[in-house]
């Protein structure tokens, strides 16, 4: 196996980071919607917090993205 092929396999493995991020975001948004349904008065405050934490969850995928582009 030559080096270029190994890099392509590594890039493919980087994509696996999406699995964890997807699970995390789904859980977060699901729980957020549940909380909004239970207490619609606090919808605005929960929604902003939800967006912020979704952005934080995205960090792991972004780390993988940086690694993806560092592989050359």
């Amino acid at each position: 196996m030559d080096a270029a092929a190994a890099i392509y396999i590594a890039k493919g493995l980087c994509i696996l980071a999406m699995v964890g991020t997807a699970i995390g975001q789904g859980y977060l948004i699901g729980k957020g919607l549940e909380a909004m349904g239970r207490n619609p008065d606090t919808e605005a405050s929960i929604f902003t917090k939800m967006i912020v934490f979704v952005a934080m969850t995205e960090t792991t995928a972004i780390f993988a993205f940086v690694a993806f582009f560092l592989l050359k």
Binding site: I51, V52, A55, M56, E58, T59, I62, F63, F65, V66, F69, L70
Partner: protein, 268 residues
């Protein structure tokens, strides 16, 4: 077949392009952007000095921004007094990141190019936060500032004692061997917190850089596929990401700061 619908462009490199050298320093295109941001903020500061009792439209915008930031920090820190303490630093970091995230999205502003001696054409501007050096600097400065604030709150030895916990070992062994062993565990936990501080710098800077760089790269990929209509949605998403990332960065700084204040309140 639909080749005319797409706009091809090279992917940007992960490093900022170097323009020229001033003495030992390298001026990259993100440096030019940073200088541009500083000049804009100086102009804004000069304009904002003339505050009137009956606000103009411009003053309204500034006051809204101030109130929004104060609200955000009050939610995190707890009281308005403490929020006013962090606002000057965290608020200016917020405005700088917001500026660097959103200004590159103004159409045309990134189209200026610079040709160096060897005839290589590079873009003159690059969003400040799309360069890892800028975000690393911001994150390092934020963590160092929090450490300095912590020292001013607890005293130098009080703060160092938080990381190198010798005291629990001594007091623990005086009581019994079991508590002394727990003290040794506390000592190693304290050492791990030093690594934690370094990890904060890395995660803060990589998060901001990664998001902005990812947006730049994906814009070019989407434009390469189809350049009519679809990019509008993507640019709207970009504005959202830019604002959210600025909020995330500043809230995290404020959280780190409030952790110190809370520990002080508990009387540790």
């Amino acid at each position: 077949m639909l080749e005319f619908l797409s706009a091809h462009e090279d992917l940007p490199s992960i490093n900022a392009e170097e323009l020229f050298h001033v003495g030992p320093f390298t001026v990259a295109n993100s440096t030019v952007f940073t200088v541009f941001a500083i000049v804009s903020f100086i102009v804004l500061a000069v304009l904002a000095r003339k505050f009137k009792l009956i606000p103009t439209k411009f003053q309204h915008v500034l006051e809204m921004m101030y109130e929004y930031l104060l609200d955000l920090f009050t939610n995190i820190v707890g009281t308005k007094d403490k929020a006013k303490k962090v606002l000057p630093y965290a608020g200016s970091v917020f405005l700088y990141i917001l500026f660097s995230n959103l200004v590159p999205m103004i159409p045309g502003i990134m189209s200026f190019t610079y040709t160096d001696h060897e005839g290589v054409v590079v873009p003159l501007l690059r969003g400040g936060t799309a360069d890892f050096n800028t975000t690393f600097g911001l994150a390092l400065a934020a963590v160092v500032t929090v450490q300095i604030l912590a020292i001013s709150e607890r005293g130098l030895f009080g703060h160092l004692g938080h990381f190198i916990q010798v005291k629990p070992i001594i007091t623990g062994f005086r009581k019994s061997i079991g508590e002394g062993l727990i003290g040794i565990v506390h000592f190693f936990v304290g050492l791990i917190e030093i690594v934690g501080e370094l990890a904060k710098v890395i995660s803060l800077s990589l998060r901001l850089f990664g998001n902005m760089f990812a947006h730049e790269v994906l814009t070019i990929i989407i434009m390469g596929a189809i350049a009519v209509g679809i990019p509008v949605i993507w640019m709207g998403m970009g504005v959202l990401v830019g604002v959210v990332q600025a909020i995330v960065f500043t809230s995290l700084i404020t959280v780190y700061y409030s952790l110190i204040l809370n520990k002080e309140g508990e009387g540790h």
